[in-house]
């Protein structure tokens, strides 16, 4: 039995000299005669000669375990009714990998029965390949032997995720994928399969001149221990977005599907389990910004639009108060009634304010009071605006 990992390319060590050096063209000639060098470019280290795997190597979850099973008749007798069976024993199950279960009628001396088995590895930990051979000798004696080949399946990738909740109902997923194998890994596909509630946009390419370019540049592979960050933007589907209360608490976002390739196209594929996130709690009343200018003039009024959503289970009667801060001055009447707000409904609110201080200013000082429960909700640091003096902006 031999594991069939992909063959490797033979590399040679070029030693060259110049014509005027002592050995003349001897070294160069030696390299030309070496069958493993690339003809015409002998100095190129990477040759074309394939060499068989030199050791069992590592096998990782998601890769395909291939193995050559050869039953060779070393004796000088013909044996009959040979049955070769290859099973893979994992910690949870036993799989039959033999292509055929039919017995071979006879095996002459110095002949062999060959089989190549493949199995996509789906479990981590110890695997044991059990090869069992039964046959009948010439004397009619039934014989049986078996062999065990043990190997460990390791984890190839380390995946870490992080969620960011945007002001809008979008969710950003940042996934860090680390190659924890010992060889470079070409990431063929890393995609997020969203759950039914979301649409996903991959943010791993940059459009430049009509062509989408990977944010990872020309480096299409991950070196051992390298980590890559993938970013996805998830938008709730329309039908779910409208019902503000639906996306609440723990929700299933989707799962990552990762396909990679290593040496000579050895392929591996993994999926993460369902990624879950804790939807941010908004309290009873959620205030989100709909519009706000990014840059405003000093001491000039500007407008913002807020959206106020009732996330609670009861109807609220809200009063809006606006408190000035050192820099932010609200325009309009503080303490106005916003009226009744039913659960899961929202209202839009246009407000005007100005800043008396230059620089990046934080919009703060909104207070909502539910008159039913006499409960006040404070909203500070809702957003930030850049305040510039009007001369600068005009010039």
């Amino acid at each position: 039995v031999m594991r069939l990992t992909k063959p490797t390319l033979f590399t040679n060590i070029p030693v060259t000299c110049e014509e005027r050096d002592l050995p003349g063209n001897l070294f160069n000639q030696l390299m030309k005669d070496d069958p493993s060098t690339v003809k015409g470019a002998e100095t190129l280290m990477l040759g074309e000669m394939l060499t068989l795997p030199q050791n069992f190597g590592n096998i990782f979850l998601g890769e395909t375990f291939s193995s050559y099973i050869s039953v060779h008749n070393d004796s000088n007798q013909v044996v009959k009714d040979i049955l070769v069976k290859a099973d893979l024993q994992t910690s949870s199950q036993r799989l039959n990998l033999s292509a055929s279960s039919a017995a071979v009628a006879e095996l002459k001396p110095d002949c062999c029965i060959d089989d190549v088995i493949h199995h996509e590895v789906k479990e981590i930990g110890t695997h044991i390949l059990v090869c069992a051979v039964s046959y009948t000798t010439q004397t009619g004696e039934k014989m049986y032997f078996r062999k065990f080949f043990k190997f460990q399946v390791l984890k190839p990738l380390d995946v870490k995720t992080k969620f960011y909740n945007a002001e809008t109902d979008e969710v950003f997923l940042e996934a860090q994928i680390q190659n924890i194998t010992t060889s470079p890994m070409f990431m063929e596909k890393v995609s997020l399969e969203p759950s039914m509630m979301y649409n996903v946009a991959e943010l791993n390419t940059v459009d430049s001149a009509g062509e989408s370019e990977s944010t990872f540049g020309a480096r299409t592979y991950l070196q051992p221990m390298d980590t890559r960050q993938y970013l996805y933007c998830l938008k709730p589907k329309q039908e779910f977005a409208e019902k503000a209360g639906v996306i609440k608490g723990v929700t299933v976002i989707g799962k990552l599907d990762i396909v990679w390739k290593t040496n000579l196209g050895e392929r591996g594929r993994l999926q993460t389990s369902q990624l879950q996130r804790m939807a941010p709690g908004y309290g009873d009343v959620r205030l989100s910004l709909e519009t706000i200018p990014d840059t405003v003039n000093l001491e000039e009024p500007f407008d913002i639009t807020c959206k106020i959503t009732n996330c609670s289970e009861r109807t609220m009667d809200l009063v809006l108060e606006m408190c000035n801060t050192n820099s932010i001055h609200w325009c309009g009447v503080s303490g106005r009634q916003l009226g009744k707000l039913h659960p899961s409904s929202s209202l839009h609110l246009a407000l005007t304010l100005l800043s008396s201080v230059q620089g990046l200013q934080s919009v703060s000082g909104l207070r909502l009071t539910d008159t039913f429960l006499k409960r006040t909700y404070e909203y500070d640091d809702i957003a930030q605006v850049c305040v510039v003096s009007s001369e600068i902006k005009q010039s």
Binding site: L26, L46, T51, Y144, F149, Y221, G265
Partner: protein, 785 residues
């Protein structure tokens, strides 16, 4: 066997426990079908196994489970059973229905696997053994040497004792070294004297060629000539007592122009040694420069002649080397300028070539030293010892023939006796012999011979750290020796011997440092290829960053030289008139050298697995070697294949097809087919890959790569026998070419897979190797253990 179980189950016990239980159940479940050998046997197996596996565990990291073959052996299976624990019980329960056959089979397999395991372990051991052996011998020798050399250290008075040592060491070599010249001189003669005289003779023959006695001034321009030196030289024959060999040399040199020019270089050298610096081989730099102040003034150097007569042996070994070596480049040059017998023209062309090839830009520090040497010829120049290059052999010899050793072990003494390879003793002790050894792939012997020649040059064993004088030839010898060490994968040894050379920029490695030996000659004595070698070496020792640093500084100098040439200056930036033709040739040379540096960089980056940069570097190599574009593009494609980026690889292969589309010819056709085959490999389509490899064989049936690769594909297709047939056929067809490491490795791997009786077949391979291969053969690929 429980204890053993515990031992071998070193790591993830938890995991295994689960597995054990599971399998236990499983196995119990399958109980009725199990028919293992007797239980006594079982436990025996366990014993050996657990020990082996323990060793193994130490060797391999935890991820590496077993060796090549998951292990075609009962061993591991037994191991497993041991760990499964339960099997024991089962076996106990089993009626011990011993099947003779199974047992013997298992027996054999076990034997085999033990062997294959020990093989792995032995490799490093062997190396360390060699190491210690060397050290041991080093010590011994060093003691002897120390005794010999004690008087020499520090003072130059007892020169004679030292010289005698030199004579002793170099006597046999000297004879062999200059076969064309010194053959007649018998051993009775003090050979060094003879060689010195021969140089003197050459010197004296020089004026004969040029007839006018004192016409040096005309030749000042040419770097190899110098009036300062020539003047004293001419007197040499008058002062020197003619020795028996003298007339012969005379005759020789007079008879042919070739010889005269041949000895041209060595003639100047010998001058230096005999006149300007009688203590050449012990040349402590301070001494040298002080003696320069005495003897440098050519015409007033009469007082030194008695000295020269008194101690003519001083320069014996180096100069004799020179004689034998110089014919090589000279004859080449003469072949180029075959039309002209005019020695002037030859000399001029020579200097042109010299300048072009030797050009190098020293560091600021070195440059200052060189300038001070040039300007203060007559006063003493003190140079720090650290700035001097004092190389010496670091280990005695690595002669040995691993093939023969294996034959002794496996095929017996009788077979081993038949193995005959050239060794350092069986060839001429000269460059001719050296080349012979190299081309017959007896690199170990060649390294040894280099060592001997260097010893004759005063840079032998244990001479490291002692002052030495350098010549073109000594450096060439070093280059060959070090290059061969690298070729033999003896990187550590190469590094050790490279160490005294520092960064190859020490002042005494420049011609300017020896104004009297190499009058007017400029540049570095270090061959460019040696710089490359020096730069490449650290990457093989796990320090690729250092390699890159060295390569980058080489690149800077190459670029600077090209810049200088473009600006109408000489290579080193000096104002020298160079004809358009020569400039062109020089630009060409330096461009190709720059390309070579880039090549090394690319290779180094590839080794570092920095594929992006490596690909960039290979792209830039294409600029310097446009004729290699298809090969390089294919190479880049293969890099992407290796990463697993099949799409990009395909793109490159398509580019290759575009490029080769214009040129037709067998080679490009093969290249395209080869690439297609590789692409199919990358897509896991071994059948298609095999088809393309076979197609190449239809065009070029002797294509080793296609042959080998097709065989590999066959194995992956489950056709072990066919695969073996193909490889065996190939090796039999042309063993001269196909007994290659990689082919043999594949072959032995398949033998191991095929049968537990692979030993015989491997030994047959060994016999084939013994007939065809030299001592540099890497026996590891035979996996004979």
């Amino acid at each position: 066997s429980n204890a053993k179980d515990a031992k071998s189950a070193s790591g993830e016990d938890d995991n295994r426990d689960i597995v054990q239980q599971k399998t236990q159940e499983e196995i119990l479940f399958h109980e009725e079908t199990i028919d293992l050998g007797g239980d006594e046997f079982e436990s025996e197996g366990n014993e050996t196994v657990s020990e082996d596996s323990n060793n193994f565990v130490d060797k391999l990291n935890e991820q590496m489970m077993e060796s090549v073959i998951i292990s075609d052996s009962a061993n591991n299976s037994e191991d497993d059973t041991g760990e499964l624990g339960c099997l024991q019980e089962i076996v106990d329960q089993m009626e011990a229905k011993d099947n003779q056959k199974t047992q013997t089979e298992v027996d054999k397999e076990e034997f085999l696997s033990n062997e294959s395991e020990t093989e792995h372990e032995e490799t490093p051991k062997d190396i360390s053994e060699i190491g210690t052996d060397d050290q041991a011998s080093l010590k011994e020798d060093s003691i002897q040497e120390a005794v010999k050399e004690e008087p020499k250290v520090g003072n130059n008075v007892p020169v004679e004792t030292k010289n005698k040592n030199n004579v002793d060491e170099s006597t046999p070599e000297d004879q062999m070294l200059s076969p064309s010249t010194t053959k007649p001189s018998s051993e009775a003669e003090p050979i060094p004297v003879c060689t010195i005289f021969s140089q003197a003779n050459n010197a004296s023959s020089q004026p004969q060629l040029f007839l006018p006695d004192g016409f040096e001034p005309q030749m000042v321009k040419s770097p190899s000539f110098s009036s300062i030196i020539e003047t004293p030289v001419k007197y040499n024959p008058q002062v020197v007592q003619p020795s028996p060999s003298l007339s012969k040399f005379f005759g020789d040199t007079v008879n042919t122009n070739t010889l005269a020019s041949d000895f041209f270089d060595s003639f100047t050298t010998s001058n230096f040694i005999s006149v300007s610096n009688p203590n050449a081989s012990s040349s402590v730099p301070e001494q040298m420069s002080s003696s320069l102040s005495n003897g440098g003034d050519g015409s007033s150097s009469n007082p030194t002649f008695p000295v020269q007569n008194g101690r003519p042996e001083a320069g014996g070994s180096p100069s004799s080397l020179e004689i034998s070596q110089s014919p090589k480049p000279f004859s080449q040059i003469q072949a180029v300028f075959a039309g002209s017998d005019d020695p002037f023209a030859t000399a001029l062309n020579m200097s042109e070539l010299d300048r072009r090839n030797d050009a190098w830009i020293p560091s600021e520090e070195t440059r200052n030293v060189l300038i001070s040497v040039a300007t203060q010829q007559y006063s003493t120049v003190f140079i720090d010892k650290e700035n001097l290059t004092m190389p010496g052999l670091k280990f005695d010899n690595i002669q040995g023939d691993a093939v023969k050793d294996l034959m002794l072990r496996f095929l017996g003494e009788q077979a081993a006796v038949k193995r005959q390879v050239l060794n350092a003793n069986s060839v001429e002790q000269s460059f001719v012999g050296l080349k012979q050894l190299i081309s017959s792939k007896n690199w170990r012997a060649a390294v040894d011979l280099c060592g001997r020649l260097l010893t004759a040059h005063g840079q032998g064993y244990k001479k490291s750290g002692l002052p030495a004088s350098h010549t073109t030839d000594s450096l060439q010898l070093w280059f060959v020796r070090l290059a061969l060490l690298v070729k033999l994968d003896l990187f550590q040894n190469a590094e050790m011997e490279f160490e005294p050379f520092g960064n190859l920029d020490q002042p005494d490695l420049y011609y300017e440092y020896y104004p009297n030996v190499y009058p007017g000659r400029k540049g570095s004595m270090v061959p460019f290829s040696m710089r490359i070698l020096h730069a490449e070496l650290p990457q093989y020792l796990g320090n690729p960053q250092e390699s890159l640093d060295r390569l980058h500084s080489m690149k800077i100098i190459c670029t600077k030289i090209l810049e200088n040439l473009e600006q109408g200056l000489a290579e080193d930036g000096s104002m020298t008139n160079i004809t358009q033709e020569n400039r062109q040739a020089s630009v060409q040379l330096w461009r190709s050298r720059l390309g070579r540096v880039m090549y090394s960089m690319a290779n180094c980056l590839l080794m570092m697995k920095d594929y992006v940069l490596a690909v960039d570097a290979y792209h830039s190599v294409i600029k310097y070697y446009p004729q290699q574009e298809p090969q390089l593009l294919s190479g880049i494609g293969r890099i992407f294949l290796q990463i697993g980026d099949i799409k990009t690889a395909e793109k490159y292969f398509q580019d290759v097809e575009k490029v080769t589309h214009k040129l037709d010819g067998l080679q490009s056709q093969i290249m395209v087919l080869m690439n297609r085959a590789f692409l199919h490999l990358g897509q896991n389509n071994f059948a298609e890959a095999h088809r393309f490899f076979t197609e190449i064989l239809r065009i070029d049936s002797s294509n080793a790569v296609a042959n080998n690769n097709a065989a590999v594909c066959l194995l992956y297709l489950g056709k072990l026998k066919d695969s073996l047939r193909q490889l065996e056929g190939m090796v039999q067809q042309d063993p001269q070419h196909y007994l290659h490491e990689s082919v043999l490795f594949n072959l032995t791997t398949m033998y191991e897979l095929e049968s537990s009786r692979s030993m015989q077949k491997k030994q047959a391979l060994l016999e084939a190797v013994a007939v065809k291969e030299g001592d540099s053969f890497n026996t590891q690929c035979l996996k004979l253990g």
